[in-house]
Symmetry: C2
Subunit: 487 residues, 2 copies
């Protein structure tokens, strides 16, 4: 894949475009192990920034990190009936270790509810030990047949929160609180505004009472389930004897929640902001927020522009800006622009001899966004103040653009199933329509169009005039649902 | 295990003491999976602080994080002959996944040289791509028969650095630089001063040209190999076709290094500083550096002392001190002292009505250390300045005490094998003695005494008067060696 080659345009083949962006921006690479990817430093740098932000939010809401075993005894997985049905088909199994066959095969965690609640049962005796609020950063394995870089890989990195509470109401509150944390993260850090709602029975987590999710709309108008939060009820507590003594001296099973987000978010970031030039990283998550490119012909010009570049970089670093000076002699400025645009650096500062004469640097935003000029000269002595402002503006404009795109590709008040199919099979998008609540209607749509109910949206996302009839059977609508094809 | 029970004294049974400290301080717990432990929030908090410190030092020396697959094809492991011989006996193997038997079994990484250098081969074309400086934070699995919490578990967490260079000299420099980073971390953060040196042929990493290590002396006078750094030569580069175009247009194999440290360090921390009361955490790594305990009888006293505690806590937080106010009503002050001492919090501040009258708080250090009073009243209005100072003093005193203990339990100039056995089988410690360089002498000592050559120490650690004769055969000494039994 030559550097000079352009990307496949999104409009021509979104899927090819996506893979090219991920590979050429050096976010990730294919590995020799089927279905497993390598996260390269630049992609891992974005993930580290995501981790840092989420971890801070988890701690601010009272959670602590811990670490549980990679291995789960097969018998543990089998205790919760729905859970094992959901996960057994895609687990990887260790049968031999230390040169011997194991007495009981060990499953590599596809998720850790079973092993974690088995430990909680050991630690929780009384209501005084509750709530127990734990998070784990870990790798998990789900053996998928069709894999995509970041979006669906056999192994992926994620965090999984696991909590235990003394009442169903408290567990429900926690489930929704953490969904809200994900939303805040997606809005403020990723500029990827999700629609929030509840999953249907057929789409909920295997073993949960209720699942809620954040659904984001990608540029190809397919949905990305970007994070989920589950109220597990007492399902796992019963199977793992996670009991506690109540305030009144009785005994009850604890109420659990779990919630997770993964490296899949990096894929969501690519598909939300990227363009035909390459990646676009929101400043809040960018490993490099500003790249400075000195422009020179003579040795003297080189000394001057590089000197100025280093000064500007130092001034920006003092403002907590993550900045890189591209001082390579072997690469021309134009090629540098191309490379950093492909890698999605939000802001480029060009410094040439003429800029120095005028006491300015030329700032170039990575992407044209409504209300923001793409190029703008900044007075040299105001760079340290203006650049953080420009980054903030760029971040907000990305969120605004993503929200506008999502709403422009949302269809409300759809009553005819023919029209629904036209949209699904045509442009795609979030389709809001009535649903009678029957699994049969849901299954029929999925079979005929591959679209699924992404969620039953929370009130703030619902259409003001609630649909009265089911899109599929014409019966009474119990819910408004958001349909779309999904990753 | 009742809270009120004392610990087994170290002098009576060090191993029992260690397990009790780890369990009662809630650093870790046994899991239902053989040989795998659970790292509880308090232990994970220490590990997070270790990670943050090391990660900062790796980045400051030019390294970037990345992530490689958990799985390694069996055939990869087999390519480097010494490497597979070293690791094959203890690998865990996935034979089935997604409901089917795999065509080629996958090994769960015991270390990632093979998969990482296979990827490097894809990324490196020319000398311009070198050096390539990568680090990975990950879990690894080595199926050990006899496991100990933190010290030896089937799964553990670690970081593994992997680099590629254009010359042997540069690789050697990197190998030693990273050993130096570990040393700095152990000195300045862990207060666990290691002896540095080279491993013998029989003790080096399977596949390395040379291995260097940091060896720390535990309180039972056994050695802990706390970190290793390997110059891998071109061994892996040859097997994975990791070639690059040289400056002169030729082609050569790259030179690799790898270096790692793990959650084992938490065990080292326990065995370096703990006492018969429980854990002692150096302030630099303590999740809680200061605990404040208000002392009151009446409701009025409660309001006053808790109010003062919160004020002091706020003033300390503003100074970046990690502080916790133990405001529990259901636990008496004495029981709180006991609990936080067991958990190793470096400094306790007691605030009672009389302290308030006197405008002071009573500061109590976790451990008596030479030159530092255990108890000391601090004027309330100077707490924010004095506490960070006291924490710094405590940190330095811990390092000083550990260094003194190490030297007091080091034996130099040992020439008689009988005397050597007396020490090994008696008090134990670092024994410095001459070695002829033969594997036979080394093996004989190991077989007869279970002591091994921990390292051939660097010059600054060597005895001024170099030994002339081999401890074992009496032949000419080629090296001074440090012997000890080890974890």
């Amino acid at each position: 894949m030559a550097d000079e080659q352009g990307l496949t345009p999104r409009a021509q083949d979104f899927s090819a475009w996506y893979n090219e962006v991920v590979l050429r921006a050096e976010l990730a690479d294919y590995s020799p192990v089927r279905g497993c990817m390598v996260i390269r430093p630049y992609g891992y740098g974005i993930w580290e920034n995501m981790q840092r932000a989420l971890d801070g939010m988890f701690k601010a809401t009272g959670h602590q990190n811990a670490y549980f075993p990679l291995f789960i005894p097969m018998s543990f997985l089998e205790r919760e009936k729905e859970h094992v049905e959901g996960f057994a088909p895609e687990v990887a199994v260790v049968t031999h270790a230390g040169g011997k066959e194991l007495e009981e095969p060990l499953v590599i965690r596809p998720t850790s509810e079973t092993i974690i609640y088995a430990m909680f049962a050991k630690w929780v005796q009384s209501y005084r030990d509750l709530p127990l609020l734990i998070n784990q950063w870990a790798n998990v394995v789900r053996w998928e047949l069709r894999t995509r870089l970041f979006l669906r890989t056999a192994e992926f990195l994620w965090q999984e929160g696991h909590t235990a509470h003394a009442s169903e109401a408290e567990a429900e509150e926690e489930t929704l609180r953490m969904l809200g944390v994900y939303r805040e993260f997606m809005d403020d850090w990723m500029a990827m505004p999700p629609v929030l709602g509840r999953k249907t029975e057929s789409e909920k987590f295997a073993g949960a009472l209720r699942t809620y999710s954040c659904e984001a709309l990608m540029q190809d108008n397919k949905a990305l389930q970007a994070a989920t939060s589950h109220n597990l009820g007492q399902n796992f507590a019963r199977q793992f004897e996670l009991k506690y003594q109540t305030v009144t001296g009785g005994e009850d099973y604890a109420w659990n929640t779990s919630w997770g987000a993964s490296t899949r978010l990096v894929g969501g970031l690519v598909m939300t902001h990227g363009d035909d030039v390459g990646l676009v990283v929101p400043p809040q998550l960018a490993p490099i927020q500003v790249v400075i490119v000195p422009i020179y012909r003579s040795e003297e010009e080189r000394t001057q522009t590089l000197g100025a570049a280093d000064q500007v970089a130092a001034a920006l670093r003092a403002q907590q800006v993550r900045v890189h000076v591209d001082a390579r002699d072997t690469v021309k400025p134009g090629a540098k622009y191309f490379e950093w645009e492909r890698k999605g650096v939000p802001l480029r500062l060009e410094i040439g001899p003429k800029d120095l004469e005028r006491g300015q640097v030329m700032a170039v935003r990575r992407r044209e966004l409504e209300g923001l000029a793409r190029k703008e000269p900044l007075p040299m002595d105001a760079v340290a103040t203006l650049v953080p402002q420009r980054l903030g503006e760029f971040q907000r404009a990305l969120l605004e653009a993503a929200r506008r795109r999502r709403e422009e590709n949302s269809y409300r008040g759809i009553e005819s199933y023919d029209r629904f199919r036209e949209i699904v099979e045509g442009p795609g998008g979030f389709i809001y329509a009535g649903w009678c609540g029957s699994a049969a209607c849901e299954a029929k749509v999925k079979e005929e169009t591959k679209a699924t109910i992404r969620c039953l949206p929370f009130e703030e996302f619902r259409t003001p005039e609630a649909p009265t009839r089911c899109l599929v059977c014409g019966g009474e609508a119990k819910h408004e649902a958001v349909w779309d094809r999904a990753y």
